[in-house]
Amino acid sequence: MHDAALDFIHVGRNYGHVQALRDVSFEARKGEVVALLGPNGAGKSTAIALMLGLRAPSFGRVTVLGEDPRREGTRGRIGAMLQETALPPGVKVAELLAFQRSLYPRPLPFDAVVERGRVGDLLGLRVERLSGGQRRRVLFALAVAGDPEVLFLDEPTAGMDTESRAFFWREMDELSHSGRTILFTTHYLEEADRHARRILLLQGGRLAVDATPEQMRRRTGESTMKFSISPDWVEKVAGLLPDCRVAAHGPRVSVVTADAEAALRVLFAHDVPLHGLEVTAGSLEEALLQLQEGGDDR
């Protein structure tokens, strides 16, 4: 029994003379949550198009659940939420969900689709009247309507407010616990850090990194400290730690440093009234930036 949910074997894809993907190989097990990261134009959308069966690879082989995604039978086990999808005007949300369910061999019950997507209040609305955030919810409901074993989500949380994002990730975590394989792209690195068990970084069409978030963070050899502090202290903290990068996100301050212990000793010596301290090895953002700068030098 082959238990790879996603399998790329030396996959390349060309568009005319442009090589969108070059010799990409990776395998994801069933139930894995994978973040596909990379700058715009790195090949993320192409990789997703290959996995959805929208395109064929120019070289190599792509399988999803051990099968060719270009077969309709395989697509019946896959769900997708793609970027910027305009829904067909004139259709009510309930009709759209019913239609989507009818396409799949073993769909979720209608009520379960509504609950998963939190679209109960939208059912009677025509799709052209939906706001951006409501449309994302409907697109997510469409993606799960067929009760897919593998879910592809291309920037699923773009344009969502904080509450919707939190709800969305709770749903994702639940789906992954029940054995669904999820592959997503995002511009919010903390989402990749927190929810992915695996990070794939594409650069210039190549797979530059295949690692856990933990391994990624450690690549920089730096640590990130996060704590809460009153706003008037932020500048003072920055002054005390000239060798560190200090940034404030609302009441939370993050400090990236090569030596977390030394920095903490300085802060405590000056009686800085910080609370809610967290220290993590490395920072995903730093690791990605360093990798991308390295990539540009080539």
């Binding site: 999808t85 305009a86 396409l103």
Partner: protein, 247 residues
């Protein structure tokens, strides 16, 4: 496929803006021109009222079949809805089949309206069987235009589709002798019209009135050739579109 067809019909009923044009123009012309010229004048073995009723029914049916697909399909391609459907288990042939069926169904309101106006306003008297045959012939004549609409949806982008489709509707209708009988136009037009699906669709429908000017088999052959030819072109565009759209 029936699920998609139901969805398409629901959309059609809720967005009648274009369909209204395919009702108002033919009905308006019909009433105007049968008022201006004597409705009971004999023409090609029938009355002007009957002859022009068929012309305008075909005019409306063609507009509806063309218009349902062209603009909408171009917009759906641009908006990503087609891409999402392609990622679903919906078979491409079912998608195309449902789209074509919806376009042919869109031709029903205009056809019915014109036949009603003929019967009630201009007192065109036919047997029940003839009315039914006439209706079915007009609808059958709309099939190649559904295929043409499909092709336009793939050739045009969402902005130019509306203008392109209206232009083609009007040009094909004028040259095909739907607006005025070919007998009233310079001779060269009669020769062009023989090759146009609009003329053939109207000629086939007039068979029901016993007023066809060409053998029915010839009409059917031309309409079939257009359907298959345009359908094949649309299919080819659909395939190459799949290769381009997700860059």
């Amino acid at each position: 496929m029936t699920a998609l067809l139901r969805l398409e019909i629901a959309r059609m009923v809720r967005n009648m803006r274009f369909l209204v044009f395919t009702l108002v123009f033919p009905a308006g012309f019909y009433l105007l021109y049968t008022e201006m010229f004597r409705a009971q004048i004999r023409l090609a073995g029938t009355t002007w009222a009957g002859y022009y009723m068929v012309s305008m029914a075909v005019f409306g049916a063609v507009g509806a079949a063309l218009g349902t697909l062209g603009t909408r399909l171009a917009a759906e391609r641009a908006g990503g809805w087609v891409r999402l459907l392609r990622a679903s288990p919906l078979a491409a042939a079912h998608y195309v089949g449902a789209k074509l069926a919806a376009a042919v169904i869109a031709a029903v309101p205009a056809t019915l309206l014109l036949l009603l106006l003929g019967a009630l306003v201009n007192h065109v008297a036919l047997t029940a069987g003839t009315w039914l045959g006439l209706f079915l012939f007009v609808i059958a004549g709309a099939v190649p235009f559904a295929a043409l609409g499909l092709l336009l949806g793939y050739l045009f982008d969402s902005e130019s589709a509306q203008a392109g489709q209206v232009l083609i509707w009007l040009a094909l209708s004028l040259l095909g002798g739907l607006w005025m009988p070919l007998e009233a136009m310079p001779k060269v037009f009669s020769e062009i019209a023989l090759y146009l699906p609009t003329f053939r669709a109207a000629d086939l429908a007039r068979l029901a009135l016993g007023a066809a000017s060409r053998p029915a088999l010839q009409d059917i052959a031309v309409l079939l050739a257009y359907t298959l030819g345009l359908g094949a072109l649309a299919w080819w565009r659909y395939r190459s579109d799949a290769e381009r759209e997700y860059a």
